[in-house]
């Protein structure tokens, strides 16, 4: 029933289950599964300490393919189920697997409340900008004007900016990665794991059946250098193989050719600076800016929800509960009938 102390070594292979992986051939979910299976053995914990909790959606089938503990819950509620588990079993490594519909549409409320409360768990948000499982309706991350089964003449819903929303909900860790970059993904999952608090990783995931190529502009080898900005802490914002960079003109980010400016004038990424993080999350609506990938913001100041709650429980813990309960029952005036 309790965690064992001696770590049981395991490999990525050990994480495969006997269930056939049932995503469409070519789906970005495979790459994410692989990356997660890759890093888990490196984290220095036993396999039995990992729990994957998902909602409903293509992405949410993920736990079935991980030979750890797993719970495929109901649509939108994974974060709540995970919160109940993490609070009561704080030593487990809890991962929430969710889609853009699952966590930002029906599950939006649990999403933002989880972020503000900050239990120590990792949310992997598979953002494919579509409802995959229900065969292709626009999602809260689909672009306005999108033509789908439920918006045949174009959606009129302006989308969320998931990382800006997370920041607004007081998230303590936000990062973005892409299915097509295994190394970067793995780095982000590792960072997420080691962050104490709720870590949100948005993963650009290609749904090759209902929304193929949504992120091609960022993932395609030839376009990537100009469209994707890979963040490194304390490093200036550079892209296009160092040819382009970003400076801050007052509060306004501007694109520059690196040859035109001194390297010292560039916008230096600082994961701990919330205003800088905000500015980075806004490289979203404006097409001219490259899309940032990497850890955008981390705050280590906020205590975790599970720590705070367990602290209250431990600090008031009653040694002899049965005895105390008896006293409790008799604590209000009682009387004897003889």
């Amino acid at each position: 029933m309790h965690l064992e102390n001696n770590i049981q070594l395991f490999t990525a292979k050990d994480l495969e289950t006997d269930q056939e992986v049932r995503w469409c051939p070519g789906c970005g979910d495979y790459a994410i599964l692989n990356s997660v299976q890759k890093i888990l053995p490196e984290l220095g914990r036993s396999k039995n300490e990992f729990v994957f909790i998902s909602g409903i959606g293509c992405s949410s089938r993920f736990p079935y393919y991980m030979d750890t503990y797993g719970l495929h819950s109901i649509h939108g509620r994974a974060a709540s189920v995970a919160t109940g588990l993490k609070l009561t079993r704080p030593k487990l490594s809890v991962w929430v697997i969710t889609g853009d519909g699952d966590s930002l549409s029906i599950g939006g409320n649990h999403f933002i409340h989880t972020l503000r409360r900050n239990p120590d768990m990792n949310i992997l948000l598979f953002n494919n900008q579509i409802y995959g499982l229900t065969k292709g309706q626009f999602s809260p991350t689909s672009e306005i004007g999108k033509i789908t089964k439920s918006s045949p003449i174009g959606s009129v819903d302006s989308p969320f900016n998931p990382l800006a929303l997370s920041l607004g909900a007081n998230a303590t860790f936000i990062a973005r990665t892409m299915d097509r970059d295994a190394k970067h993904q793995q780095e982000m999952y590792r960072r997420a794991y080691y962050h104490k608090g709720t870590s949100l990783v948005e993963i650009y995931q290609n749904c090759n059946v209902f929304n193929d190529g949504a992120f091609e502009v960022f993932t395609d080898k030839s376009q990537k250098p100009l469209t994707a900005l890979f963040l490194e802490n304390n490093q200036p914002l550079l892209f296009d193989e160092g040819r382009k960079g970003i400076i801050l003109d007052g509060l306004k980010p501007k694109l520059v050719a690196t040859e035109d400016v001194s390297i010292n004038d560039l916008f230096v990424h600082d994961e701990g600076d919330k205003t800088k993080a905000f500015i980075l999350t806004q490289f979203f609506d404006e097409e001219e800016f490259p899309r940032p990938f990497g850890v955008i913001y981390v705050s280590k100041e906020k205590a975790t929800f599970d720590d705070l709650m367990n602290l209250q429980i431990e600090s008031t813990e009653i040694a002899d509960k049965a005895k105390a309960f008896k006293e409790l029952l008799y604590s209000k005036n009682y009387w004897e009938k003889k």
């Binding site: 109901i74 509620r77 029952l329 009682y334 009938k337």
Partner: protein, 614 residues
């Protein structure tokens, strides 16, 4: 000393009524406690206005507290009052209909000035204190505010604070009238205001002044005595249903040696369970006030999954929101306790009033074939046992259990013969531990009761996946196989049905299979029905009574008990719900006794309905 003669009474029903701000609940509670300590049997019925305070002095602002104390066993707060204490015109107007002819009416005459009459929507000319409409009662008018202020003058309080003591003044008077000491209340006041001695002393002074007012003035010619009741021996305390529910859950957690996790969202009248449990973190109680009811129940499911006791509490609108997740728990076959403290519906309805109209929702309010266990407490103190059993059943049968209570018993109090934890049945959850598992763990392998063994995350070598899709029996793998689905639907139903094997058989509360008529009830109507049936039996009318606590599954012998009867009545505070089960299961032409007024049954209502049906 007192020259008043003392008249012995078997029982008294007294109602305090005043403005929400008048401290009526506290006054009533004090009298109830003092009488209980003295040894009376008691039952209380607090009746507050809608959640927000209405303007002072108006009808919607009236707060009431009804107390029945007796030298005989007491089952309800009583139908009509022997005494009404009305602190203003609105309180009188709302309650006078329930005062027995010849009853004692104590009024604060200052609560009947023009302003108060206007607020109570009474024409000046219709002032009941002068228009003769109260002639049928023994009316005692007291200038309560003036007398109270005089009494607390030495403490130099502000006007408002001084006035606030008037409930203690009137309580003192009532203590005197019913021959009770004031020590218990003095001790209470000292405790309550330990940070403000002046206020404590002023209140005590008012209490004493009221007491002596009875003693020294001659307004009352008699005083009364209600002797101690001859109830079962043992240690008692007073308890209301929500407290009892919280204690039952807590006790079960201690007995099962598992953490208790409450995932909930506040709602009237269930919130007090949250309030109570959140005081007891030291018992390994996690109280999680979630962002909504869905998150509350889902977190409880997560905690159950992790090996704690997942509980969620709510009332009508909140229960409606939880139905999808209850389906998930059913499918996962995890323990879960859902407490529904019913209130008047539909929709937001009458949040502070009582009703039993969520029974069919409890039974059927989920998508798909989704049976769960449904049990109902029948009195404030019975909530303890039933909440405890809810946990026991959930853990031992790996099913969701819906525990039904309602606003009436949740807020009403009665003496409780304290049930020590050692006397409760043991709780044996169905967890599997790593060491025994050499073979592959099969999450949906079942025992003879069809119950699966649960492996808790963290256990070495028992890694597995579960979810809300239909699953293959034994392995738990997702399965779309048609016959497997039918099998699983039947297994889930049978598993719930088999809970009946562990439940007590149903018995008659009154009468037996030869009685002329059978009345069936469930939940909070127990007191009123039982009292009504006893009274009828005393009148020589042979009525049998069954009170059902286990609704799904029903006790195994229920058909047997019902079978002999041609005349069957089902009494419910709804438009007819349990009656559907009785009719459908037993093909008996049962008739309903129904009341849908946000109020409990009166004994007389039941009696008359039975008489008519005979």
């Amino acid at each position: 000393m007192s020259t008043h003669s003392i008249i012995e009474l078997e029982n008294v029903v007294i109602k305090f009524a005043g403005d929400s701000g008048d401290g009526v609940q506290l006054t009533g509670n004090q009298l109830a406690e003092t009488n209980a300590l003295f040894g009376n049997d008691i039952s209380t019925f607090p009746d507050f206005p809608a959640e927000i305070r209405a303007p002072i002095g108006t009808i919607p602002g009236v707060s009431g507290f009804q107390l029945h104390f007796s030298s005989q066993p007491v089952l309800t707060p009583g139908d009509k009052y022997d005494v009404l204490v009305a602190l203003n015109a609105a309180a009188l107007k709302t309650n006078i209909k329930q005062l027995k002819p010849g009853g004692i009416l104590i009024v604060n005459s200052e609560g009947f000035d023009s302003k108060n009459l206007r607020l109570a929507k009474i024409e000046e000319s219709e002032n009941p204190l002068i228009n003769g409409s109260l002639d049928a009662f023994k009316v005692f008018q007291i200038e309560l505010t003036k007398l109270t202020k005089l009494a607390v003058k030495p403490f130099a309080l502000g006007n408002k604070d001084a006035e606030r003591c008037k409930n203690m003044y009137v309580l003192g008077l009532v203590y005197w009238l019913y021959n009770r000491g004031i020590d218990n209340t003095i001790a209470f006041l000292t405790r309550q205001f330990k940070k403000n001695e002046v206020i404590a002393n002023a209140n005590i002074a008012a209490l004493k002044a009221g007491y002596y007012y009875g003693e020294t003035t001659e307004i009352f010619l008699e005083k009364y005595l209600v002797k101690a009741a001859d109830t079962t021996k043992g240690l008692y305390r007073s308890i209301n249903g929500n407290q009892a529910t919280a204690f039952g859950l807590l006790g079960a957690s201690i007995r099962a040696n598992l953490p208790l996790f409450l995932g909930t969202y506040p709602i009237t009248p269930a919130s007090d369970i949250l309030h109570e449990l959140s005081k007891h973190k030291g018992y390994n109680v996690y109280s999680f006030q979630a962002e909504d009811e869905i998150a509350g129940v889902c977190a409880a499911i997560g905690a159950s999954y992790g090996g704690s006791i997942g509980v969620t509490t709510s009332s009508g609108p909140g229960i409606a929101l939880k139905t999808e997740a209850i389906g998930l728990a059913t499918m996962l076959e995890l323990p879960l306790v859902i407490c529904n403290i019913q209130r008047g519906g539909p929709s937001t309805g009458l949040p502070t009033k009582t009703e039993q109209a969520d029974l069919l929702q409890a039974l059927y309010g989920r998508n798909g074939e989704c049976p769960i266990v449904v049990i109902a407490a029948c009195s404030p103190s019975n909530c303890y046992e039933m909440a405890y059993l809810a946990v026991k059943i959930a853990l031992e049968h790996t099913v969701p259990v819906m525990f039904l209570s309602d606003g009436y018993i949740a807020n009403g109090a009665e003496p409780w013969l304290i049930q020590d934890l050692e006397t409760m049945p043991p709780i044996l959850p169905k967890y599997i531990s790593s060491n025994i598992a050499n073979a592959k763990y099969q999450p949906y392998l079942r025992d003879e009761n069809l119950v699966r063994s649960i492996a808790i995350p963290g256990s070495v070598g028992l890694e597995h996946r579960i979810g809300g899709l239909e699953k293959e029996n034994i392995t738990g793998n997702i399965s779309y196989d048609p016959l497997n689905h039918e099998l699983m639907v039947k297994i889930r139903a049978e598993k719930v049905a088999m809970v009946a094997n562990t439940l007590p058989l149903q018995t008659f509360e009154n009468g037996n299979e030869t009685s002329k008529i059978l009345i069936i009830g469930w939940g909070s109507t127990y007191g009123a029905i039982t009292q009504a049936v006893s009274e009828l039996q005393n009148e020589g009318i042979d009525v049998a009574q069954i009170h059902i606590k286990y609704i799904n599954p029903l006790p195994k012998n229920i058909g047997e008990l019902i079978q002999p009867f041609d005349k069957i009545l089902v009494a419910e505070l709804n438009n007819g719900q349990l009656i559907n089960l009785i009719r459908a299961n037993h093909l008996k032409d049962a008739k309903g006794i129904n009341k849908i007024q946000g109020q409990p049954f009166q004994i007389i209502e039941i009696k008359e309905a039975i008489k008519q049906a005979l």
